[in-house]
């Protein structure tokens, strides 16, 4: 990726991350649409021999042989039995029955996580810079489980089965499906097994935001990653005939618009279809759009297809307006015609101009790439939100990372829009989603694994969470683009990742497989369900009182019953492990939370040894509040050198 290494402080702190042997011992497995091995992001210049621990392979198939692998791309497998059982034999004229990426998504995520350094990367000159993955010296192993028709759980399980055998250290999965309970969710099931083998599993939180309860991949043994923006934008202003200008974004590169104001029409008035405003296939009347710029509304079909529909109908440009569902979030696209995307408010104002002016005119002014954009990061509107619909006492997402307008490697089999009509071919593409933020964290986890080979997946996630930030350098609170207000832990979890701080977090909240089994007991899982998930005979101890709130999670989600009067008391127990230098930590909770008293015992924790563990209890005493009330706070342990920070979300249900 370009820009995110600087944005995350990786470039400035390069010396902090071991470039030594350990960094290139880490293997990041990516379950996705495969890989385009010719991408420069998988060059292996300067990499030593493949780690001796590696047991993986490079499978041959359509347009792919083991010669396509190297010391960077050390593994490539594909899994299609489930897909073919469900949808019939793969049509090899349409997709490669091999690890080869015909889609682009898998190359993008794999290169984001661990791509090699590539000078002079860009998409048509946009986002120009030196592209590199988060863990430039980590090795990559791809497991193709996603095909044109989707990603089927029997294939996903088979890939995770193999990735564990192959000895990956991190698993990156930018996919999700449904919101079923953990014992019915193949990603959760496979991730439990991976976690037991010391593999950190990083997953996308989903793009169903900003609706609450919209998260995917919420199992506590999974690292769940939401999406935030960068300090980079691609402005393309809308200039109306009445002299008004509106901000927009675009990645269009091609023949410029004529240097004059152009006739402007609303798609809804240039169509016989009831939803003609959406610029869907075959809905625009050519006579009404030919030679004009068309205002389309978002929804139903993909954004880039709207541009193709306008172009096919003879339109010369498009202004694409957000609706209430996406508010002011601006996601840039490499449209096939001069086009720009504007927020809902701008779209409404532009539509009013169109309706109130007999001869509306417009043009689009493209400004290229701008950096230093503030405020940034902001939580992306599409980023799925908590509370956790499966276990409300586990706060999710865990954190956010860059996921908007991310440049990374792309397939040579498809254009930057992914449209069949797009015959352009690019080395890098700019796309958005929690699919993009997940591999950022996968790569950062790889960096931490290299620096601390003995850390468990839980310790790595804890380090990333307790050092995440929720304020800008000017002390303003991080914003949510969906509301224009400060985001909450249900939006950003612990906050935005800060990998340099995560390298030395001071203390971590560690967790073992046994802790997670106790968590399942607290959920009253049956013996059968636990055996399905954990592949072992494990009986919950009838004499023991298991509580979800005892799971040693680096964040807190508290639920009060709004019906019960003042006697709402919830206790959470946590244990901190010292991974830093000796120190005495003092606790603080802020801000004051209306309707609930938060007390911590003890107030200080002293550590003199490495790996020394100390426990504490937080007591939440809630008075009755209206149903649906949420209040938030942060609990911090600090010894003056390290700050170990945890979000608290308190809800009255």
């Amino acid at each position: 990726t370009t820009r995110t290494p600087e944005f995350l402080g990786l470039s400035q702190a390069a010396a902090l991350f071991p470039e030594s042997e350990s960094a290139s011992e880490v293997v990041i497995g990516v379950l996705d649409t495969g890989v385009w091995p010719e991408s420069k992001s998988f060059a292996d210049t300067g990499l030593g021999p493949i780690p001796s621990s590696w047991k993986g392979a490079c499978e041959s198939g359509t347009n792919f042989t083991s010669a396509n692998c190297n010391k960077k791309l050390i593994g490539a497998r594909y899994f299609a039995k489930g897909y073919e059982a469900a949808l019939g034999a793969i049509d090899e004229t349409k997709e490669s029955r091999s690890p080869r990426d015909d889609d682009g998504h898998g190359t993008h995520t794999a290169s984001t996580a661990a791509g090699s350094v590539v000078e002079g990367a860009s998409l048509f000159g946009y986002a120009q810079g030196t592209a590199r993955g988060m863990a430039t010296r980590a090795r990559v192993a791809v497991y193709k489980v996603c095909w044109i028709g989707g990603c089927f759980s029997s294939d996903i399980l088979a890939a995770m089965e193999k990735a564990i055998d192959d000895n990956v250290n991190v698993l990156s999965m930018s996919l999700g499906g449904g919101m079923s309970d953990y014992y019915r969710d193949s990603v959760a099931i496979g991730s439990f097994a991976a976690m037991e083998k010391g593999i950190l599993v990083s997953c996308s939180a989903g793009n169903a935001g900003p609706a609450p309860y919209s998260l995917s991949n919420v199992a506590p043994w999974i690292t769940t990653v939401g999406a935030g923006t960068l300090d980079r934008d691609f402005p393309a202003f809308v200039s109306l005939g009445n002299g008004k200008n509106f901000s927009g974004v675009s990645l269009y590169r091609g023949s410029p618009l004529p240097g004059k104001m152009l006739p402007f029409v609303y798609a809804g008035n240039a169509s016989n279809a009831t939803n003609g405003n959406l610029c869907m296939m075959d809905t625009l009347i050519p006579e009404k759009v030919a030679g004009k710029i068309v205002l389309c509304d978002r929804g139903m079909n993909v954004r880039v297809q709207k541009g193709a529909v306008v172009k096919a109908a003879g339109g010369i440009g498009m202004v694409l307006s957000n609706t209430a569902a996406n508010g002011e979030e601006l996601v840039a696209d490499a449209h096939l015609l001069p086009a720009t995307a504007v927020g809902q408010k701008s779209g409404d104002a532009i539509r009013d101009y169109l309706f109130s002016n007999p001869n509306p005119t417009v043009t689009i002014l493209f400004e290229g790439t701008k950096v230093g954009i503030e405020p940034s990061p902001v939580v992306a509107a599409f980023s799925s939100r908590g509370p956790n619909s499966i276990t409300s006492e586990i706060l999710k997402p865990d954190m956010i990372a860059p996921g908007v307008n991310i440049l990374a490697g792309w397939s040579g089999a498809v254009g930057p829009t992914g449209l069949a009509t797009d015959t352009r071919r690019v080395d890098f593409n700019i796309i958005s989603g929690t699919s993009m933020s997940c591999p950022h964290v996968s790569g950062l986890a790889g960096l931490l694994k290299a620096a601390h080979p003995d850390w468990s997946p839980a310790a790595i996630r804890s380090a990333l969470m307790t050092t995440a930030y929720t304020e800008y350098k000017n002390k303003q609170k991080m914003q949510d683009v969906a509301t224009g207000k400060p985001s909450t832990p249900f939006d950003h979890g612990a906050g935005h990742v800060d990998p340099v701080s995560a390298l030395n977090p001071g203390l971590v909240y560690d967790l073992t497989a046994e802790d997670y089994l106790g968590f399942l007991c607290a959920l009253n899982y049956t013996e059968f369900q636990i055996r399905s998930l954990a592949r072992r005979n494990f009986s919950c101890d009838a004499s023991k009182r298991y509580r979800v709130t005892d799971l040693n999670y680096p964040s807190f989600a508290v639920n009060f019953d709004s019906v019960m009067g003042g006697s709402n008391v919830v206790k959470h127990t946590r244990t901190l492990t010292n991974v830093g230098s000796p120190g005495t930590y003092k606790v603080s909770v802020s801000p004051e939370t209306p309707g609930v008293k938060i007390s911590v015992e003890p107030q200080t924790l002293s550590f003199s040894q490495a790996n020394e563990k100390k426990s504490y209890t937080v007591t939440f005493s809630g008075s009755s509040q209206p149903t649906g009330t949420n209040v938030f706070a942060r609990l911090e342990w600090s010894d003056g050198k390290y700050t170990v920070s945890s979000p608290i979300a308190i809800s009255w249900t």
Partner: protein, 82 residues
């Protein structure tokens, strides 16, 4: 619809394999054949779960679920890229 086959993930209680079987995959196969002569295993799993995936009719899936040693017969789920 009843006769149409879907993919299922079958979770087995591996520790309950009858002593008459040399290898758990033989036991899996025998359990599968007891409800469907034609079904074949798509994958067998030993790391992520103890079990296998296969294509069954709803009826066959119900019959299999009642077999000894079967923990769960879960319908396959289609996931999407984010």
């Amino acid at each position: 619809k009843k006769s149409s086959r879907k993919t299922y993930i079958v979770h087995m209680a591996k520790s309950e394999m009858p002593p008459s079987f040399q290898h758990h995959t033989h036991w899996y196969d025998s359990s599968l054949k007891s409800v469907s002569g034609s079904a074949a295993m798509l994958y067998t799993y030993d790391n992520v779960i103890h079990g296998f995936s296969t294509q069954l009719t709803d009826e066959e899936a119900e019959q299999l679920e009642s077999q000894p040693g079967i923990l769960a017969v879960l319908p396959e789920v289609r996931y999407e890229l984010h």
